[in-house]
Amino acid sequence: MAATTSSSSPTSLLNSLSSLSLSSSPPPPTTVSLSSTSSSTKTLTAITQPPISPLIHNTSSNIHSLLYPSLAYSNNLFFKTPYNVQVIVGPDESEESLIGRFRREVFRANIIQECKRRRFFETNQEMRKRKIRDAARRRSRRRQRPVAKKDEISRKKVDDEPDNWELIDVEVPYCQ
């Protein structure tokens, strides 16, 4: 699954936001969105601070979501520089934990895989093969986990059966 990053230029986004503010009345939500510094929708952040709530949910106007659906996630705009992954370093963080965290975030964003894919041109045939492979991998991953759970449940049911067909040690008359 290729992770695309919506790193549109900040100026164009600012322009669209200003047009939004001009068209509709409420001023406070726009200031919230302009002052937000969170990342964009498809980027990942390990921000420990509470995220700024989205523009659309705060406002009562549903016009925003109807007219500008692409700005639904406008709270996740980045203004200074576009980035794919951001890791905020804590005050006393060990070297290994920082590097481990960074590597995990980068892996989740699929950055290195994307870079390798885009290094050389891949034909339509190769693209189709790659997509089939990725889909098969995803399907096998999804089937592995729930199947394991079903096995556990079926085993438990066998033990709790009310019928007990084992031999019972009781003295039966006229039998040796």
Partner: protein, 136 residues
């Protein structure tokens, strides 16, 4: 030039002395490609203070792309800047290379306070056509 830096000093003097700025906060850019790692230290605005790369550290050829080379490049670059009094830094990592983690490790060990670590690898939204596949 995009950014206009105002001139200072009298006209008649030929300023051959380098301007030593004291920068408490800076940005460290790490460009980690498959064959090399370049570490550039700039100020917050982006003006370069010092730089170093695996090639300038004496490595040649295939050894430039190794993580150890990236480590020495980062250490080299930071040594020049710590004397200028830089305490905090942001790290921007670009490119898919082996030098990413190694350079970050070296920066962490040098004692500079890190605020952010960002990945700024440029991702095209299906833009230019990349070169053809290698048939090796």
């Amino acid at each position: 030039m995009a950014k206009a830096i105002p001139k200072k000093g009298s006209r008649g003097r030929i300023s051959s002395r380098k301007s030593i700025r004291k920068i408490p906060k800076g940005v460290i850019h790490i460009q980690a490609s498959f064959n090399n790692t370049i570490v550039i230290v700039t100020d917050v605005r982006g003006r370069v203070v010092s730089w170093s790369s695996a090639g300038t550290c004496g490595f040649q050829g295939t050894r430039r792309g190794t993580p150890f080379a990236a480590q020495t490049a980062a250490a080299n670059a930071i040594r020049a800047v710590v004397d200028q009094g830089m305490q905090r830094a942001e790290v921007m990592i670009k490119g898919p290379g082996l030098g990413r983690d190694a350079a970050l490790r070296a920066i962490r060990r040098s004692g500079i306070l890190l605020t952010f670590v960002r990945d700024v690898t440029p991702m095209p939204h299906n833009g230019c056509r990349p070169p053809k596949k290698r048939r090796v």
